[in-house]
Point group: C2
Chain length 465, copies 2
């Protein structure tokens, strides 16, 4: 005969089994618990025992019932924490940690690990001219919301720029956003449901990981080679994981500085077509290129590729302005989501950007910037090579060098040590879903003028033979 | 004996049953299909028939399989459409439609239905002074990202303003956002999982509906009375629906202009405490008040209440800047989400806002604005009453009058007709989840200077007597 004590014991056993799965993170916040029936079978207890155990865990607040959908792991005190989602990384190589370090630290800290240019490299004079000219703008520009798609003049200018890259679209295929990241965020909202699979490059821009975790996406990654993703792996992943989106850079790949070749662009698109995959091409480094490399969006004509960009890299990160270029039917849905989640954009940032882009000096500034970056890349590559840090490739454009550490050096260790010298680095595994980039480090050549950067690296690296 | 033909017919029948449920919207995009077993029982076919039918529908792209979770209705061509979620409303009273109309229309259209002041009511001179002074700012202000929480000077000033409202917090309890809506969006990301229940007022600011639909929340509403939510209904809803959040305005309620009384604020908080409910207090109309009314956030001391605000109403909607005030442990999680989904904020908008708020003229401007609004409210109330449109109450502050139409007049009908005269109105059901506000209309008294507004209303309303 079954006693109450025996039954209590079984209920407690089931509760304990769930608790330990949550503690070990094999069930994470938001995850659905096994169905009552399945778990009863697995634990060899009755369904009513599991029902009672789940009810008690729900009363404790550890899990939550959602009528008709089952039971889910409740969120911890901080209800939704990015830190709690995804693989548990050391804080030093957590993508958000690097973002925070770079954003929080003052002017006294050196940031060869950050992803932007120093203020004095940017077109200060043109920005100040733009501010003065806005001081004389119409009242409405200073105070009104913008239209849902954003300032028409800037969208027209963007359409012309896209045409220069071989992508012929009208301004109705372009929507302004607050930033490039905001653009990708809206795209994720539009395309993804929680649990959907998204493919990124390995390595890739680290904030893609944080952004996709915020969307509760399942992330998979494909090795990135010198001219694009590893196509065999790409094909296999499309087959196995059926990702909904692939997010990538074509022009200047972050963090490697690699460029997608035309032949690989074509093959990626062919595979994407076959699998019904939508591609998000993050083109924020476009203006760094001398000769435009292959663009998935241009090859595809905005059929299954969405392009995003912003002006934070070559103009200013202080005035927030990015864009999405996509099929007009998608732009319609994206703009509904933009209104719902941030209402109208502002006109001021877009008007500033338009003023600077149409300022006669912008093209000349860009030419100077590219020359300056080319020599900074050369100098940094030489300095780093002298320390035994070898660039994986020599990029044609941009601000990054992706360097391999000497044998036996872990880049997260090195970053941790240099931080005590006031030098913020970006260790490889921050960019790597597979965590296979522990021997790599991304350097921003525009942030290496100060000899203290190399001095810190030299002091912290093991002495050569 | 079962023939292949018979089996094919049964599979087709099951497929057709699912197709028609999707077509009739009894299964919407993202909805989970009935389990294979349950549907086999319901259709009186074998499990394998349903499995095969589901597989074929998945191959057609109409539904999608998610391993371990079952089958879901695939998104239509436009993968996630706000228009497809929630009750199907006439386009004229769809919240997004009113937002779009107001944001898209040019200066030639009259907008008594919009929610903001005309450009000439806003502090143009102070804004122009701020632009000029920014033209002389440090390089970094013009080009750098801001710190994760945003410009320290503005957060300190906001902390002092909150202290004036009886809420004593440090700047670490305040995070800047791109807008008030962006602040609420981050809060929803932090607290909600898809399917969670959120409580709003009925009527409430219409974009809350669109925002919550974007979060796939289940929305419930509580009738809003002249001094706060209907407390009996509020208590019953907490009991029945256990909402995760309650989003409301305390100072000047949108659209009614009502204010929360101190006694109701206390009762709402007591009920919220008991139910473990988190409250989002949207305080964007704070600067319109002469005498501050009760604030849930001040009574509660930011324990379970989060306050948000922005400067779009009294300063400018063109430079995007809002804020969240919340417990520092929540601010930490919110700032992670902000970095992940929009990276750093810009400094420029925050610096502009700070410059205007610390401009000697701001307080004087506000005094003038409040006087001007008070007389505009009086004049509009009189004009509208002359047309048989009676304000539900006479608000103490703000720009809105919530008016009842004459017997037999449907406000959506009236809005549709006035639109042909170039007058954009905001019919009551846009604000009402229950769709019980068809006799009401929200008027923005600052947008009624032009006699064409009343002329259009007069021409379109049925003649009296």
């Amino acid at each position: 005969m079954d006693t109450n004590v025996q039954r209590s014991g079984r209920i407690e056993t089931v509760m304990q089994a769930i608790r330990s799965r949550i503690a070990s993170r094999s069930l994470v916040a938001g995850a659905r618990l096994p169905s009552v029936r399945a778990f009863a079978r697995a634990m060899q207890v009755s369904v009513s025992t599991v029902v009672e155990a789940y009810e008690r865990l729900a009363a404790e607040g550890l899990i939550r019932s959602r009528p008709g959908s089952g039971f889910f792991v409740a969120a911890p005190l901080a209800p939704f924490s990015l830190v709690d989602i995804g693989p548990r990384l050391e804080r030093d190589i957590d993508p958000l940690w690097v973002s925070r370090q770079s954003l929080e630290s003052g002017a006294d800290v050196l940031k060869p690990g950050c992803g932007w240019l120093p203020p004095e490299w940017l077109p200060q004079a043109a920005l100040r001219r733009a501010l003065r000219s806005l001081g004389r703008a119409d009242d409405a520009v200073l105070t009104d919301y913008s239209s849902p798609l954003g300032l028409p003049g800037l969208r027209q200018l963007l359409a012309r720029r896209l045409a220069d890259h071989g992508l012929s679209v009208g301004p109705d295929a372009i929507m302004l956003t607050e930033s490039g990241t905001h653009a990708i965020d809206l795209i994720c909202r539009f395309f993804l449901e929680p649990g959907d699979c998204v493919l990124v490059d390995d390595p890739c821009y680290f904030n893609f990981h944080a952004l996709l975790r915020a969307h509760r996406a399942k992330i998979v990654s494909v090795p990135y080679l010198a001219d694009g993703p590893d196509l065999a792996a790409f094909a296999a992943i499309l087959e196995t994981h059926r990702p909904r989106l692939y997010i990538t850079n074509s022009g200047v790949h972050n963090p490697t500085g690699a460029s997608l070749s035309a032949v690989n662009a074509h093959r990626v698109l062919t595979l994407a077509d076959r699998a019904g995959l939508t591609i998000v091409e993050d083109d924020i480094f476009a203006d760094f290129e001398d000769v435009a490399s292959a663009r998935l969006s241009a090859f595809d004509g905005l059929n299954r590729v969405v392009q995003i960009g912003s002006f934070s890299k070559t103009l200013s990160a202080s005035m927030r302005c990015g864009y999405v270029a996509a099929r007009p039917d998608w732009i319609e849905g994206l703009s509904d989501l933009k209104i719902a989640t941030s209402f109208g954009g502002g006109q001021l940032a877009a008007a500033m950007v338009l003023a600077v882009l149409t300022d006669g000096g912008y093209r000349k500034y860009l030419e100077g910037l590219k020359t300056r970056l080319a020599s900074a890349r050369q100098k940094a590559a030489k300095d780093l090579a002298g320390l035994g840090l070898v660039p994986w490739l020599l990029p044609k454009a941009g601000l990054f060098l992706w360097c391999e550490m000497p044998e036996g050096v872990d880049s997260a260790d090195l970053a941790r040590q240099c931080l005590t010298d006031g030098v913020i680095l970006a260790p490889g595994n921050v960019f790597s879903l597979s965590q296979n980039a522990g021997r790599f480090m991304r350097f921003n050549v525009a942030q290496m003028d100060d000899p203290k950067v190399c001095a810190s690296l030299k002091a912290r690296l093991p002495r050569k033979g």
